[in-house]
């Protein structure tokens, strides 16, 4: 267990110190959101209608661009081989890296994402539901993304492959994440989609470490 937390700490610190860390993912998220009115037009009503879906799409994109470093950097410098030789099961190692990825790529969105609600014409009351849906749904993104990242480790143009693999699998998370947020904005009951969103994260937790570890074993030949 010490090795597990040690790996989480190492990856979090590495991500924080190299490549922008906590700020960069959120910066990308904010940029996507800020570009939307330039494309859609500044009409507040239109923006408010589209806001839940846009917030979730931006979250998915910013998770997606951070995924290609999840295993690739450690694969290239050989760290992954050493981790594989350690007594810690590969599944647990995957889980530690996913947790670190969630802390660095998703937690900033959960905490700071709601601040962007006013830009999209959402009321201040929508901030808490925004944070809640991101909190419940982003673990599923990190976990499913880890499968895609593990499958494309050591593959040329792996980033494109990750997108081709992960985006279809993200569909349910997008549907329930945006659905829960829209329900909250419309003032209808948001508990059901929120619980289903959390269920997806738990379900991904049950299968992703094994699938990703299997994929890593295949790709580290």
């Amino acid at each position: 267990m010490r090795a597990f937390w040690g790996l989480v700490w190492r990856d979090t610190v590495l991500a924080a110190r190299i490549g922008g860390g906590f700020g960069l993912g959120f910066g990308f998220f904010a940029l996507v959101i800020a570009l939307v009115p330039l494309g859609v037009g500044p009409d507040p009503e239109t923006l408010r209608q589209a806001a839940p879906g846009l917030l979730w799409l931006a979250a998915i994109l910013s998770v997606l661009i951070s995924l290609d470093r999840l295993f690739q950097a450690d694969f290239e410098d050989g760290t992954l081989d050493i981790l594989r030789l350690s007594p810690m099961p590969l599944e647990l190692m995957v889980l530690a890296k996913v947790l670190a990825h969630w802390l660095t790529a998703c937690l900033p969105l959960v905490l700071a994402g709601p601040l962007l609600c006013p830009i999209l014409g959402l009321p201040v009351e929508a901030m808490v539901p925004t944070g809640l849906t991101l909190l419940a749904g982003t673990p599923a993104l990190s976990l499913i993304g880890a499968i895609g990242a593990a499958l494309s480790v050591g593959v040329r143009r792996g980033g494109l492959l990750i997108a081709a693999i992960c985006l279809p699998l993200f569909a349910p998370t997008l549907i329930f994440g945006a659905g829960a947020l829209k329900a909250a904005v419309d003032g209808t009951e948001m508990l059901t989609p929120l619980v289903l969103l959390a269920a997806q994260s738990l379900f991904a937790l049950a299968i992703a470490p094994w699938a990703a570890a299997g994929a890593l074993r295949v790709n580290m030949t």
Binding site: D81, I147, L167, P168, I175, A211, G214, V218, N219, T221
Partner: protein
Amino acid sequence: MGGGRGTARQYDLTPHLASGQFPHRFGCVFKKVDQRIVTHAPTVLGQLHGLANPHRFMGFASAATPWCMALAGTLLIAGLYGALFAAPADYQQGDSARIMYVHVPAAWLAMAGYSGIVIASAIGLIFKHPLADTAAKSMALPGAVFTALALITGSLWGKPTWGTFWVWDARLTSVLVLLFLYVGYMAIWEAIEEPTRAARAAAILALVGAVNVPIIHYSVEWWSTLHQGTSVLRKDGPSMPWSMLWPLLSMAFAYQALFAGIVLVRMRSEILERRLRTRRLSLGEEAP
């Protein structure tokens, strides 16, 4: 990287495949490899009978392909006659409902193709059998084409019936996502060069996708009822009169025979390609 070739997991069966002298029962190959598999392999693979041997499979496939194609052609002609002339026009939709006879079998095959990939992938992962990997790979492109065909014919049918080519209906959306899953599956085969590695990676993706297909289906259903519940697909499957049912079944079997024929051809060319690859590799090693 790692232990290299000698370890159990990375054992590559390609040379056996290439030589064509594949042992009939896999026990003798796997004996060196993995004690756990030896206990299962003779019985289970024995039930999959002698075709598990690629050499015999090649013979079977080249003999069966013309039969599949002939069956597909005959059933297609019969089914098209039934669909275009014998079957009555739909009392509400008129002649446009005849698109059903090309649309519904394609949609069935879209699902069946992915199920086939999943089953073959599971066999390939568990028994490390290269023929199962080849089967899974060969089913991907035809399956994707039939999925696209289902979407295209469906949207052509939607125009006269619903008044639009596309609605974000639950079933349309989940079939679209299925098409993307096919694309991702094929992308992984393209991206990883070494066949054994690509097969394992693609199989993992196929299984993860299989777990996700029901989730995607139900989430999309939930999502679409939230937005609009007006365009409900016709549900007249079993209540169909015989005059409409037999052309549909004939077309469905024709599609399946065609699919089987195409998959057999693709599997044969894939096996030949692997043999060629191994020959090249061995030649390359011998060169100074």
